[in-house]
Amino acid sequence: MHELTVVNNLLKFLQNFLKDKNIEKVIKINLRINPLSCLDEENLNFVFRSLAKENNLLKDAKISVKRGEDPLSREVIIENIEVEVRDGDQKD
Protein backbone atom coordinates (compact mmCIF):
# COMPACT_ATOMS: atom_id res chain seq x y z
CA MET A 1 0.00 0.00 0.00
CA HIS A 2 1.66 3.27 1.05
CA GLU A 3 4.92 1.57 2.03
CA LEU A 4 6.34 2.92 -1.22
CA THR A 5 5.94 6.54 -0.09
CA VAL A 6 7.58 5.83 3.24
CA VAL A 7 10.50 3.88 1.76
CA ASN A 8 11.09 6.56 -0.87
CA ASN A 9 11.31 9.19 1.88
CA LEU A 10 13.54 6.90 3.93
CA LEU A 11 15.97 6.42 1.04
CA LYS A 12 16.04 10.11 0.29
CA PHE A 13 16.75 10.89 3.93
CA LEU A 14 19.46 8.24 4.35
CA GLN A 15 21.28 9.05 1.13
CA ASN A 16 21.58 12.59 2.34
CA PHE A 17 22.36 11.69 5.94
CA LEU A 18 25.07 9.18 5.08
CA LYS A 19 26.90 11.48 2.72
CA ASP A 20 30.55 12.04 3.75
CA LYS A 21 30.22 9.78 6.77
CA ASN A 22 32.71 7.04 7.36
CA ILE A 23 30.21 4.23 7.20
CA GLU A 24 30.78 0.89 5.51
CA LYS A 25 27.16 -0.12 5.49
CA VAL A 26 23.87 0.20 7.30
CA ILE A 27 22.73 -2.95 9.07
CA LYS A 28 19.48 -1.97 10.66
CA ILE A 29 16.98 0.87 10.48
CA ASN A 30 14.72 1.25 13.51
CA LEU A 31 11.39 2.96 12.84
CA ARG A 32 8.65 3.95 15.27
CA ILE A 33 5.10 4.34 13.98
CA ASN A 34 1.52 4.83 15.11
CA PRO A 35 0.21 1.72 16.90
CA LEU A 36 -2.80 1.67 14.53
CA SER A 37 -0.82 2.32 11.38
CA CYS A 38 -1.24 -0.31 8.68
CA LEU A 39 2.38 0.00 7.61
CA ASP A 40 3.71 -3.51 7.60
CA GLU A 41 7.29 -4.40 8.47
CA GLU A 42 7.54 -7.19 5.93
CA ASN A 43 6.17 -5.01 3.13
CA LEU A 44 8.48 -2.15 4.09
CA ASN A 45 11.44 -4.51 3.83
CA PHE A 46 10.22 -5.88 0.52
CA VAL A 47 9.94 -2.39 -0.99
CA PHE A 48 13.25 -1.36 0.58
CA ARG A 49 15.07 -4.37 -0.89
CA SER A 50 13.66 -3.61 -4.32
CA LEU A 51 14.60 0.07 -4.26
CA ALA A 52 17.97 -0.16 -2.48
CA LYS A 53 19.41 -3.16 -4.28
CA GLU A 54 21.91 -1.06 -6.24
CA ASN A 55 23.07 0.87 -3.19
CA ASN A 56 26.04 -0.80 -1.48
CA LEU A 57 25.62 1.23 1.70
CA LEU A 58 22.00 0.30 2.15
CA LYS A 59 21.22 -2.91 0.33
CA ASP A 60 21.76 -5.21 3.34
CA ALA A 61 19.90 -3.07 5.85
CA LYS A 62 16.83 -4.47 7.60
CA ILE A 63 13.96 -2.28 8.67
CA SER A 64 12.60 -2.96 12.12
CA VAL A 65 9.27 -1.43 13.20
CA LYS A 66 8.32 -0.54 16.74
CA ARG A 67 4.81 0.64 17.55
CA GLY A 68 4.60 3.98 19.35
CA GLU A 69 1.89 4.90 21.83
CA ASP A 70 0.01 7.77 20.20
CA PRO A 71 -2.90 6.46 18.09
CA LEU A 72 -3.39 9.88 16.47
CA SER A 73 0.21 10.35 15.37
CA ARG A 74 0.85 10.66 11.64
CA GLU A 75 4.58 10.41 12.14
CA VAL A 76 6.94 7.74 10.90
CA ILE A 77 10.00 8.28 13.06
CA ILE A 78 13.40 6.96 12.11
CA GLU A 79 14.67 6.48 15.65
CA ASN A 80 18.18 5.29 14.89
CA ILE A 81 20.28 3.26 12.51
CA GLU A 82 22.85 0.59 13.25
CA VAL A 83 25.91 0.83 11.04
CA GLU A 84 29.31 -0.72 10.41
CA VAL A 85 31.96 1.94 10.68
CA ARG A 86 34.86 1.74 8.26
CA ASP A 87 38.14 0.57 9.84
CA GLY A 88 40.75 3.15 10.75
CA ASP A 89 38.36 6.00 11.42
CA GLN A 90 35.93 6.25 14.30
CA LYS A 91 34.50 9.62 13.37
CA ASP A 92 30.94 10.15 12.25
Binding site: M1, H2, L4, T5, V6, N9, L10, F13, F17, E24, I27, L31, N34, L36, S37, C38, L39, P71, L72, R74, E75, V76, I77, I78, E79, N80, I81, E82, V83, E84, V85, D87, Q90, D92
Partner: protein, 218 residues
Protein backbone atom coordinates in the same frame (compact mmCIF):
# COMPACT_ATOMS: atom_id res chain seq x y z
CA UNK B 1 34.71 -3.70 12.06
CA UNK B 2 33.03 -1.48 14.63
CA UNK B 3 29.28 -1.48 14.84
CA UNK B 4 27.56 1.54 16.22
CA UNK B 5 24.12 3.00 16.66
CA UNK B 6 23.37 6.50 15.41
CA UNK B 7 20.38 8.25 16.97
CA UNK B 8 18.28 10.17 14.46
CA UNK B 9 14.72 10.92 15.60
CA UNK B 10 13.45 12.36 12.29
CA UNK B 11 9.90 12.09 11.01
CA UNK B 12 9.96 10.59 7.51
CA UNK B 13 6.64 12.21 6.70
CA UNK B 14 7.79 15.65 7.81
CA UNK B 15 7.62 16.98 4.26
CA UNK B 16 3.98 15.95 3.98
CA UNK B 17 3.22 17.57 7.36
CA UNK B 18 4.90 20.78 6.25
CA UNK B 19 2.89 20.98 3.04
CA UNK B 20 -0.30 20.07 4.91
CA UNK B 21 0.32 23.06 7.17
CA UNK B 22 0.80 25.27 4.11
CA UNK B 23 -2.48 23.97 2.66
CA UNK B 24 -4.23 24.78 5.90
CA UNK B 25 -2.82 28.31 5.85
CA UNK B 26 -3.85 28.84 2.22
CA UNK B 27 -7.38 27.67 2.98
CA UNK B 28 -7.67 29.74 6.16
CA UNK B 29 -6.33 32.77 4.31
CA UNK B 30 -9.15 32.42 1.80
CA UNK B 31 -11.71 31.71 4.53
CA UNK B 32 -12.47 28.28 3.07
CA UNK B 33 -13.83 25.42 5.16
CA UNK B 34 -12.46 22.07 4.01
CA UNK B 35 -13.76 18.54 4.40
CA UNK B 36 -11.84 15.38 3.49
CA UNK B 37 -14.16 12.49 2.58
CA UNK B 38 -12.55 9.10 2.98
CA UNK B 39 -13.87 5.57 2.78
CA UNK B 40 -13.76 2.36 0.79
CA UNK B 41 -14.60 2.23 -2.92
CA UNK B 42 -18.32 2.09 -3.48
CA UNK B 43 -19.38 3.47 -0.11
CA UNK B 44 -21.12 6.38 -1.82
CA UNK B 45 -18.69 9.27 -1.36
CA UNK B 46 -19.37 10.75 -4.80
CA UNK B 47 -23.11 10.24 -4.47
CA UNK B 48 -23.03 12.08 -1.13
CA UNK B 49 -21.18 14.94 -2.80
CA UNK B 50 -23.69 15.06 -5.67
CA UNK B 51 -26.63 15.32 -3.31
CA UNK B 52 -24.94 17.64 -0.82
CA UNK B 53 -23.66 20.11 -3.39
CA UNK B 54 -26.91 20.23 -5.33
CA UNK B 55 -28.70 21.07 -2.06
CA UNK B 56 -26.37 23.80 -0.80
CA UNK B 57 -24.49 25.30 -3.71
CA UNK B 58 -26.85 28.25 -4.07
CA UNK B 59 -26.21 29.36 -0.48
CA UNK B 60 -22.61 28.11 -0.07
CA UNK B 61 -20.17 28.27 -3.02
CA UNK B 62 -18.53 24.85 -3.23
CA UNK B 63 -15.43 23.43 -4.87
CA UNK B 64 -14.18 19.86 -5.14
CA UNK B 65 -10.85 18.10 -5.40
CA UNK B 66 -11.41 14.57 -6.67
CA UNK B 67 -8.71 12.02 -5.94
CA UNK B 68 -8.56 8.76 -7.86
CA UNK B 69 -5.86 6.42 -8.99
CA UNK B 70 -6.94 6.87 -12.59
CA UNK B 71 -9.65 8.38 -14.74
CA UNK B 72 -12.05 11.31 -14.75
CA UNK B 73 -15.12 9.33 -13.82
CA UNK B 74 -15.97 11.09 -10.56
CA UNK B 75 -15.31 14.61 -11.75
CA UNK B 76 -17.48 13.92 -14.83
CA UNK B 77 -20.28 12.84 -12.49
CA UNK B 78 -20.03 16.14 -10.62
CA UNK B 79 -19.61 18.27 -13.75
CA UNK B 80 -23.36 18.97 -14.17
CA UNK B 81 -23.34 20.74 -10.79
CA UNK B 82 -21.41 23.50 -12.46
CA UNK B 83 -18.92 24.15 -9.68
CA UNK B 84 -15.10 24.28 -9.80
CA UNK B 85 -13.66 20.75 -9.78
CA UNK B 86 -10.09 19.52 -10.00
CA UNK B 87 -9.44 15.87 -10.70
CA UNK B 88 -6.21 14.48 -9.33
CA UNK B 89 -4.90 11.14 -10.57
CA UNK B 90 -2.46 9.67 -8.11
CA UNK B 91 -0.99 7.40 -10.79
CA UNK B 92 -1.06 4.30 -8.64
CA UNK B 93 -0.75 5.78 -5.16
CA UNK B 94 -3.45 4.52 -2.82
CA UNK B 95 -4.08 7.85 -1.09
CA UNK B 96 -3.87 11.61 -1.54
CA UNK B 97 -0.84 13.40 -0.14
CA UNK B 98 -0.60 17.03 0.91
CA UNK B 99 1.42 18.00 -2.17
CA UNK B 100 -1.28 16.65 -4.51
CA UNK B 101 -3.87 18.74 -2.68
CA UNK B 102 -1.62 21.78 -2.87
CA UNK B 103 -1.40 21.38 -6.64
CA UNK B 104 -5.18 20.98 -6.70
CA UNK B 105 -5.60 24.24 -4.77
CA UNK B 106 -3.43 26.03 -7.33
CA UNK B 107 -5.94 25.04 -9.99
CA UNK B 108 -9.08 26.15 -8.18
CA UNK B 109 -10.57 29.68 -8.11
CA UNK B 110 -10.19 29.94 -4.33
CA UNK B 111 -11.75 33.40 -4.14
CA UNK B 112 -15.01 31.93 -5.37
CA UNK B 113 -15.13 29.02 -2.93
CA UNK B 114 -16.39 28.92 0.65
CA UNK B 115 -16.57 25.16 1.15
CA UNK B 116 -14.06 22.70 -0.30
CA UNK B 117 -14.70 18.98 -0.44
CA UNK B 118 -11.81 16.63 -1.05
CA UNK B 119 -12.81 13.14 -2.10
CA UNK B 120 -9.91 10.87 -1.25
CA UNK B 121 -8.95 7.70 -3.09
CA UNK B 122 -11.37 4.90 -2.23
CA UNK B 123 -9.50 3.06 0.49
CA UNK B 124 -10.10 2.47 4.20
CA UNK B 125 -6.41 2.21 5.04
CA UNK B 126 -3.80 4.55 3.58
CA UNK B 127 -5.60 7.92 3.31
CA UNK B 128 -5.77 7.98 7.11
CA UNK B 129 -2.00 8.12 7.39
CA UNK B 130 -1.39 11.34 5.45
CA UNK B 131 -2.38 14.80 6.70
CA UNK B 132 -3.77 17.04 3.98
CA UNK B 133 -4.29 20.22 5.98
CA UNK B 134 -8.08 20.11 6.01
CA UNK B 135 -10.49 21.19 8.75
CA UNK B 136 -12.51 18.00 9.03
CA UNK B 137 -12.00 14.34 8.26
CA UNK B 138 -15.13 12.36 7.47
CA UNK B 139 -15.24 8.62 6.92
CA UNK B 140 -18.01 7.14 4.77
CA UNK B 141 -18.90 3.47 4.96
CA UNK B 142 -22.04 1.75 3.77
CA UNK B 143 -24.20 -0.93 5.33
CA UNK B 144 -22.91 -3.47 2.83
CA UNK B 145 -19.39 -3.04 4.19
CA UNK B 146 -20.21 -4.90 7.40
CA UNK B 147 -20.37 -4.02 11.10
CA UNK B 148 -16.76 -4.88 11.78
CA UNK B 149 -15.04 -2.13 9.81
CA UNK B 150 -14.32 0.29 12.71
CA UNK B 151 -12.67 -2.58 14.58
CA UNK B 152 -10.69 -3.75 11.56
CA UNK B 153 -9.52 -0.34 10.32
CA UNK B 154 -9.31 1.67 13.54
CA UNK B 155 -7.02 4.46 12.40
CA UNK B 156 -9.44 5.84 9.82
CA UNK B 157 -12.26 5.95 12.38
CA UNK B 158 -9.96 7.34 15.06
CA UNK B 159 -8.91 10.39 13.07
CA UNK B 160 -12.39 11.22 11.73
CA UNK B 161 -14.84 13.60 13.36
CA UNK B 162 -17.86 12.21 11.54
CA UNK B 163 -18.73 8.72 10.39
CA UNK B 164 -21.40 8.50 7.74
CA UNK B 165 -23.11 5.14 7.58
CA UNK B 166 -24.54 5.28 4.08
CA UNK B 167 -27.16 3.29 2.15
CA UNK B 168 -29.43 2.71 5.17
CA UNK B 169 -32.27 2.29 2.65
CA UNK B 170 -30.82 -1.19 2.01
CA UNK B 171 -31.03 -2.27 5.65
CA UNK B 172 -34.29 -4.12 5.24
CA UNK B 173 -32.63 -6.50 2.80
CA UNK B 174 -29.48 -7.14 4.80
CA UNK B 175 -28.35 -8.83 7.98
CA UNK B 176 -26.35 -5.73 8.93
CA UNK B 177 -26.62 -5.01 12.66
CA UNK B 178 -26.54 -1.21 12.99
CA UNK B 179 -26.28 -1.36 16.79
CA UNK B 180 -23.24 -3.59 16.59
CA UNK B 181 -21.70 -1.22 14.05
CA UNK B 182 -22.27 1.70 16.42
CA UNK B 183 -20.79 -0.23 19.32
CA UNK B 184 -17.67 -1.06 17.29
CA UNK B 185 -17.44 2.53 16.14
CA UNK B 186 -17.67 4.08 19.59
CA UNK B 187 -15.22 1.59 20.99
CA UNK B 188 -12.71 2.87 18.42
CA UNK B 189 -13.54 6.57 18.82
CA UNK B 190 -15.94 7.57 21.57
CA UNK B 191 -16.32 11.16 20.35
CA UNK B 192 -17.09 10.47 16.67
CA UNK B 193 -20.48 11.65 15.35
CA UNK B 194 -22.41 8.90 13.60
CA UNK B 195 -24.85 9.85 10.84
CA UNK B 196 -26.98 7.07 9.37
CA UNK B 197 -28.12 8.30 6.00
CA UNK B 198 -29.06 7.29 2.49
CA UNK B 199 -27.48 9.32 -0.25
CA UNK B 200 -29.88 7.67 -2.70
CA UNK B 201 -33.25 8.26 -1.02
CA UNK B 202 -32.18 11.22 1.11
CA UNK B 203 -33.17 9.48 4.35
CA UNK B 204 -31.80 11.46 7.31
CA UNK B 205 -29.65 13.46 4.89
CA UNK B 206 -30.62 16.69 6.63
CA UNK B 207 -28.48 15.71 9.62
CA UNK B 208 -25.41 15.82 7.37
CA UNK B 209 -26.51 19.01 5.62
CA UNK B 210 -27.06 20.73 8.99
CA UNK B 211 -23.60 19.68 10.08
CA UNK B 212 -22.10 21.15 6.89
CA UNK B 213 -24.09 24.37 7.22
CA UNK B 214 -22.86 24.78 10.79
CA UNK B 215 -19.25 24.28 9.75
CA UNK B 216 -19.51 27.14 7.33
CA UNK B 217 -21.39 29.41 9.71
CA UNK B 218 -18.88 29.25 12.56
Amino acid sequence: MEIKKIEIGENLLVENEKIAKENSEILKGKNIVSVNLMGPPGSGKTKILERTISMIKDEIPCGVIEGDIAGLYDSERLRPLNIPIVQINTGGACHLEALMVKKGLENLPLDEIRLLFIENVGNLVCPAEFSLGVDKNVVVVSVTDGEDKPAKYPLMFKISEVCILNKVDLLKNLEFDADLFEKNLLRTNESIKLMKISSLTGENFSQWINYIRKLVKF
